[in-house]
Amino acid sequence: MSSGTARSAPGLEPDRAAAAPDGRAMADQPKWRRDFPIDAGQDDYVSRRELVKFLVLTSGAFAAGQLWLVLKSYFELSFTGAPAAAVAAVDELPVGGAKTFEYPAGSPPRLLIRTGPASFVAYDQQCTHLLCPVVPVVDQGRLHCPCHNGWFDLATGQPVAGPPRRPLPRVTLEVRGPTVYATGVEVSPS
């Protein structure tokens, strides 16, 4: 950055690039002057330390975000089922009928579907794509999410078409006499 000395008039100091008007050294200048240098080279310059700081902080933030996602899914998986709760009476639903319930209380809405005279299934009502409510289409044996035309298998909860990639969380059921009980929630890790 040093310029030639020839351009100064006799008896004057040689030119210094980015000299401050008070003539003091750049190290003695206030921080704003060092942060906003007039010299084009310094203005474009990114120091190795700044680059390393940027790389470490951004990649650290990404890593922390990933770790947070892993921990979140781990704790959701390790959720142990609440005590069994009565969801509906067997006679309450016709074959092909459905109702929503919460299990455990305060959970996102779940969907209980009667697929046959003696068979029931229950899933999360929220599509695993963008949380739109899914609609059972029992005669096709599928669940439909109308938001983005996503389809799930009614028997297993696995996605079969459309944008969803993860299966619907399944609520395990038990029929005890005239009442259907929810006994637990199976969240597939994939």
Partner: protein, 214 residues
């Protein structure tokens, strides 16, 4: 590529004949076609035909860049103060008001300050600036210091200017008579000196002098 150190810009107002060739040449540049970045000042239209070509003096610590709130004016390593960076300039006019030489001009239609950058596209590849290449009397000269000393033995270059308490040092040189005693051109003192132009401050602040009324 920086401007070679051995080439310097010399302005000699005493040689200016007011032909405006520099303005025409500057106007033809593709980067600011139709706008001259050089100004031709008439010192005293009533009393004299003297004109002074005014190019950017490229200060060592450029006041225009000091006052720029948008960090848009930068000085390259060869000491050339570049015109405002287009993405940064906010057309606030600070540089126009602050420059002691009155160089930057605001082009409000473009929202951009533009000023002389010593034809950086030419000088950085070893060519003369457009104005210096066309000036018939070489009031604007671009060359080496030795060449100037040989061609103009009665003049010497000065690149320090005093404005009150502040001394501004520049990359561009002003040619002064070799007999001039000082190494610094005292600009504010010259404002009060009738022999230089006319007593302009008295014109502004005092009663009109006898015989000067229209």
């Amino acid at each position: 590529m920086p401007v070679p150190d051995r080439f310097e810009f010399f302005v000699d107002p005493a040689r200016c004949i007011g032909c405006q060739a520099c303005i025409q040449a500057c106007t033809e540049c593709d980067t600011h076609r139709g706008q001259a970045m050089i100004q031709l000042d008439v010192l005293d239209r009533e009393g004299s035909t003297q004109t002074v070509p005014v190019v950017c003096m490229h200060c060592d610590s450029p006041t225009c860049a000091e006052v720029c709130p948008a960090d848009a004016i930068k000085r390259t390593e060869d000491g050339v103060v570049q015109t405002a960076r287009k993405p940064r300039c906010i057309a606030c006019n600070n540089c126009v008001l602050a420059c002691p030489f009155g160089i930057p001009k605001m082009h409000s239609g473009m929202g951009l300050m533009m000023k002389c950058d010593m034809c950086y596209d030419r000088t950085s590849v070893g060519l003369k600036p457009m104005c210096a290449s066309v000036c018939p009397s070489q009031a604007l000269a671009f060359g080496t210091r030795e060449e100037m000393a040989r061609l103009r033995p009665d003049a010497r270059p000065v690149n320090a200017f005093r404005f009150g308490q502040q001394t501004v040092r520049t990359k561009v040189n002003l040619m002064v008579p070799a007999s001039a005693p000082d190494a610094v051109v005292d600009v504010t003192a010259a404002m009060f000196e009738p022999g230089v132009g006319h007593d302009m401050l008295e014109d502004v602040f005092d009663e009109p002098a006898e015989g000067r009324e229209a």
